[in-house]
């Protein structure tokens, strides 16, 4: 029994080692959002020139909505764009955009070139509304329920894996729940 005490340092070392090893798998950039399960912040953003509808709290109620923060200068946004387009066109998810710190003509040219899957886009020129949403790195994507509450957030470009494993099940759940 007394001998067991000599095993203690080894056990401690293994415990700490496992904890550190698990730390390698965690992405330090993945910061939990403070806004999960809270209503979307109060905001109203104007549309892009030539577009009819902007983005505000009123637009976000009624349907399960994916809100995507994007910019024409953001390279990963281009990478995730086909995935978002598929979500909107093939899965029938309502996708709305926040155009983050972009020039209007650049944003329009970018949408003309890459396609526009957004039901509507709000222009956040100074990034102030993005701060209210807790955005710290474009692209970021939020999923909102019918009451306009934020239920899920993804930082960085969407991948097919995130869509399959997290977003689509969540959309299904939120649609059936309310």
């Amino acid at each position: 029994m007394r001998r067991l005490i000599y095993l203690l340092p080894l056990l401690l070392f293994v415990g700490v080692g496992v904890a550190f090893l698990r730390g390698f798998d965690r992405d330090p950039r993945d910061i939990p959002s403070a806004l999960i399960d809270k209503p979307a912040p109060e905001f109203a953003l104007p549309p892009l020139p030539g577009h009819k509808e902007g983005l505000s709290n009123a637009t976000l109620k009624g349907d399960v909505t994916l809100v995507n923060v994007f910019a024409s200068w953001c390279i990963p946004c281009k990478a995730e764009h086909p995935i978002i387009t598929r979500l909107a066109r093939e899965q029938g998810v309502t996708v709305r955009g926040i155009n983050h710190k972009d020039k209007a003509e650049d944003a329009i040219a970018w949408l003309n070139r890459n396609g526009d899957p957004y039901a509507s886009i709000g222009v956040d020129l100074d990034g102030r509304v993005s701060i209210d949403w807790g955005v710290y790195g474009v692209p970021e994507t939020f999923l909102l329920d019918r009451q306009g509450r934020i239920r899920f957030k993804h930082v960085g470009p969407l991948t097919p894996q995130v869509v399959e494993e997290q977003i689509l099940p969540m959309v299904k759940h939120l649609r059936s729940a309310s």
Binding site: I31, P32, I131, Y136, G137
Partner: protein, 158 residues
């Protein structure tokens, strides 16, 4: 040569440069001082290990301007900090708050120190107890041992 060395040393001196741009600075020095103080406690989420006061990232600049706006609007330091944590969570605070979820973080080191202290005390007491039980360490010297010790000490002095 000395001048050269001095110049090299000066060039290598780390300068605590803040990223605050002249156009961000508030006119009221008291408010600006509070803004600087708050900015030093807020993490820049883009670079993560810099405060927004140190970081050149655009988001850090936006947050610095925001902090100054809130202060000018009459917010207390605490109100400004909660304005930012409402949006970004406790993670933005470089000084983690003391609450249930961070209890282990704050108390942990002291708990471990206490465990170590108790373990050491127990171990030392156990050793002393064992020595007394053996009787060896505390028994008086015999006449023979005393003579040998004196001889050794004399030899040492000479």
């Amino acid at each position: 040569m000395r001048a050269l060395l001095l110049a090299a040393l000066l060039a290598l001196t780390p300068v605590a440069a803040s990223a605050v741009q002249p156009d961000e600075v508030l006119k009221d020095p008291a408010l600006e001082g509070r803004a600087r103080e708050i900015s030093k406690d807020l993490r820049c989420l883009v670079c993560q290990n810099q405060s927004i006061d140190d970081s050149n990232a655009p988001l850090a600049r936006d947050l610095r301007v925001l902090v100054r706006e809130r202060l000018t609007a009459g917010d207390s330091n605490q109100q400004v900090l909660s304005f930012v944590t409402d949006r970004y969570g406790d993670y933005v605070l470089l000084r983690p708050p003391f609450k249930a979820t961070t209890l282990f973080l704050w108390i942990g080191p002291f708990v471990i120190l206490a465990i170590g202290g108790v373990a050491t005390a127990l171990y030392l007491r156990g050793r002393k107890g064992a020595a007394v039980a053996a009787g060896g360490d505390t028994a008086p010297l015999t006449e023979d041992e005393r003579r040998r010790l004196d001889a050794l000490l004399r030899k040492d002095k000479a």
